[in-house]
Symmetry: C2
């Protein structure tokens, strides 16, 4: 209950309007606590639905919802005609990756060629897209969205084609504003600018707060698009040590802020790409406060925040912003409408500058896309879609972890993110993952080698792996092949790590955030 308590405490200060936990969530949390405390152990059977319902005086459907949630989180599994059983989670088979120690020097960035090479390979439909940045488009209600397009545009008065040009469609901005209210962030609708996806939002923010030559702090490893943006704008990157579970290391950041004239931070506190790390709320708060003392703006990339496997959406760091220094960027591309290119930024004190820059660079965001999403949100069904999506991704993660445990070199380390659709793998140091990517590509499998995620070569034995393509029946075979190729690379170096005992299939737990 720690996470929840600390959230509630913060909410007193921040007027966070958290809706109270639902019954099934409470019951699921109690069982989670029992599993953590090892009162319930792997293989134990949960109370039957009838027992639990009678005993706890809750409806059978509430019990079902709770078990369903626990299953989605990988804590229990259903056995047909038998009931729900606790999964093995005492010790995960594989350790999590190390926290890399960046050089703390600011460096110019040159990674684009590699990124384009790798991304180019993921667009071929013949290739299994383990290296892709996108989840499968089949995961989204594309048909429902398409049905919204024509009626929404036909309802629009032609004059709005001009009016909506600047900030974006008014109703959509209010709908986004409402979601901030629910999350507890004090965001004014007027500071929200609709953009062509989060990518445009992030780039606008970066340009607004920097000049060529400036130093920008990023995570390590970091999302290659952040590095590309720095490269393009002639900015210097200083990488901050980032824990694979808890995100940016605040001591390291404090040191960086002392040593460098940092003009902005570009961080992803929720399900960071590529690590999947999730900053605990109190660390988000400390981050925002630390940056405020240095008057450094935070460009918060929060595109994966909705894809959580836990009980509720992790808060954006923006919730803790009292000085308008946090520019919170997100989009619908990863959770609802890929290809529609609708994102936004709540840009705090920089809102007008962002808006003007947008007007000068792409003028306005496509109106059909905005209206279709607004219409979809209005009609309801978004929350239900998100619940399904989260469960599918959680299940896929469990599958991917099991396959990695079975087929990858023994000393492979791997993250177990609490959301999103990426795993980050640390292979034995002798494995060059760019070589692995090229070997895999000859087998029609793409990978995202660690080289893409840093301005230096510290992650050349690491790998980002996309498990967000559940409909793709080539996925299992592809993971086995990559594991085999990695083992072979190990063997060639003669270090003997390659032979990996074939572990029995098993679920692995999603690790918990330490608070």
């Amino acid at each position: 209950m720690k996470i929840i308590k600390s959230t509630l405490t913060q909410s007193l200060f921040l007027t966070v309007q958290l809706s109270p936990m639902k019954r099934y969530e409470q019951y699921a949390q109690e069982i989670t606590d029992l599993i953590k405390a090892q009162t319930l152990r792997p293989g134990d059977r949960l109370p039957s639905v009838r027992q639990a319902s009678a005993h706890r005086k809750i409806s059978p459907s509430t019990v079902f919802e709770a078990y369903y949630l626990l299953e989605a989180r990988g804590l229990v599994q259903a056995r047909p005609r038998s009931g729900y059983y606790v999964n093995a989670l005492t010790q995960p088979t594989q350790a999590e990756p190390h926290t890399a120690l960046p050089s703390q020097q600011s460096t110019p960035v040159v990674i684009s060629d590699l990124v384009f090479e790798v991304l180019g390979s993921t667009r071929n439909l013949d290739v299994v897209p383990l290296g892709s940045a996108f989840p499968s488009p089949t995961l989204f209600p594309l048909d429902k969205l398409a049905r919204s397009l024509t009626p929404a545009m036909r309802k629009l008065a032609p004059s709005r084609m001009v009016e909506d040009l600047t900030l974006g469609n008014d109703r959509l901005r209010r709908q986004i504003g409402l979601r901030y209210v629910v999350e507890g962030a004090a965001v004014e609708v007027d500071e929200i600018v609709i953009t062509h996806g989060a990518m445009e939002a992030l780039n606008l923010c970066l340009q607004v707060v920097t000049q060529p030559g400036d130093v920008v702090a990023v995570e390590s490893p970091t999302f290659y698009s952040a590095l590309q943006a720095l490269e393009r704008l002639n900015l210097r990157a200083v990488e901050v040590a980032t824990h694979p579970r808890d995100g940016v290391d605040l001591d390291s950041l404090a040191e960086v802020l002392q040593r460098h004239p940092v003009k902005a931070c570009w961080f992803m506190p929720n399900f960071q790409n590529p690590l999947g790390s999730l900053m605990p709320d109190h660390r988000k708060q400390a981050l925002v406060e630390l940056l405020a003392t240095h008057e450094v703006p935070l460009i918060e990339d929060d595109v994966y925040g909705e894809l959580y496997f836990g009980l509720r959406r992790p808060l954006p760091a923006k919730v803790y912003d009292r000085h308008g220094l946090v520019m919170h960027c997100s989009s619908f591309s990863k959770c609802l409408a890929p290809g529609y290119r609708v994102g936004w930024v709540a840009a705090g004190r920089f809102a007008q500058q962002v808006q003007r820059l947008k007007l000068m660079t792409t003028l306005a965001t496509a109106i059909p896309s905005q209206l279709a999403i607004s219409d979809y949100l209005q009609r309801g069904g978004y929350e239900r879609h998100l619940r399904q999506l989260r469960q599918i991704l959680a299940t896929q993660q469990a599958l991917a972890l099991r396959l990695i445990a079975q087929h990858f070199p023994k000393s492979t380390r791997v993250t177990r993110p609490e959301g999103g659709y990426f795993l980050w793998l640390e292979l034995p140091p002798q494995v060059d993952t760019l070589q692995l990517h090229r070997l895999a590509l000859s087998q029609r499998i793409s990978l995202a080698p660690g080289h893409m995620f840093s301005a230096d070569q510290r992650f050349s034995h690491c790998l980002r792996l996309n498990y967000g393509h559940p409909g793709d029946d080539r996925f299992e075979e592809a993971l086995k092949t990559v594991g085999l190729l990695a083992c072979r690379l190990c063997e060639e170096t003669g270090l003997g790590d390659a032979r990996h005992p074939h572990l029995p299939p098993q679920y692995m737990s999603v690790p918990h955030t330490t608070t």
Copy 2:
């Protein structure tokens, strides 16, 4: 026939695939020549449809089409139950503006605040948008486009949501490529990148060929978005003298190229914003050749090219490009689908760089918008829509010119562009058009003062006037009011220019391009 002949001659060298003139176009051209030669004079009646049909052995509908075209070009007018009569065009009532002589110094640019002030005022629907950059959205087949959206998206395989991300939708790019073939430009489909409107295309091109501090040549006066882009990227502008009818002065440009290390030119050869000037084809060719000798890329902004009032679309300068140095940017925003944000660039040798930069800044262009336009083009009707649109705009221009002749200070000079929806007015030098804009705004009328179109103050007595709102019944009254305010400003300075004899309403001719 001069224009046509020179085009055909060029086509021999350039394999321009011009479709042969249609019958009605030939007949209209013959009458145009007779009017120019003063064989037919103002007030003369054209042969009746029956006479002409019998005499020339062409169908009555062909004669009708020819007269219809001549009327759209302002050369003749129909009188009910009487026939078609030649308009007065011996001497236009008002002279055309002077060619301004820029300083030839390169200067940093600071105009954004003013531009935002003025543009902000045009978004209020209560204000008559004479200062707007956009034509009325009621001019476009918005309902037809909207009807395309849902079916087009439902037909799309989800996998294409990923495939289409980079360059844009394949079919749309081929459709655009086909239009280049018709115009005679040797453009490969692979060099076409779909963008969020021409604005993004232009900005991407500019970034690809410049570094901060570089010098870029622009027209004088020039489109304020070009100036804003330079300002944003810390580039220096050198303005090149631009003739209000014939566009960029090539001698001035040659001199500029000698004196400055120009890294790019951003020009609008077709219906330049704000002048409406149209470079004759042989000057476009000379421009491209001059720039090629200096290895200077041309960023060609051609968003108004389809809005011609003459017989055929003016060629893009890109037609003459043999070195891949011309980046031809255009969009559907001004001629078909405002608010859809679909533009493109055919970027020649810079195509891959543009594509990569696009991928890094906004990732991809909204797919629903692309598909709706592609679907609309496929179904046909675009040419018919364009013909109607051109005729409406030509008629509106004639109305605006008549009102200006009646109500503006006597010595007002005004352009008579052969396309687009802007007039450029040169008022007596004592009139400050920013003051005029603010006075007009208190009467709920917006204007675009000359200050917005140059990095210095040479155009502070000039004005861009948008006549592209034919449905707006406030238009006539607004023009009268602005004329009255301008006269009053003249009177206050005591120069006596203000009292303007009330001329009888009359059509004024569209001037011809000297070749």
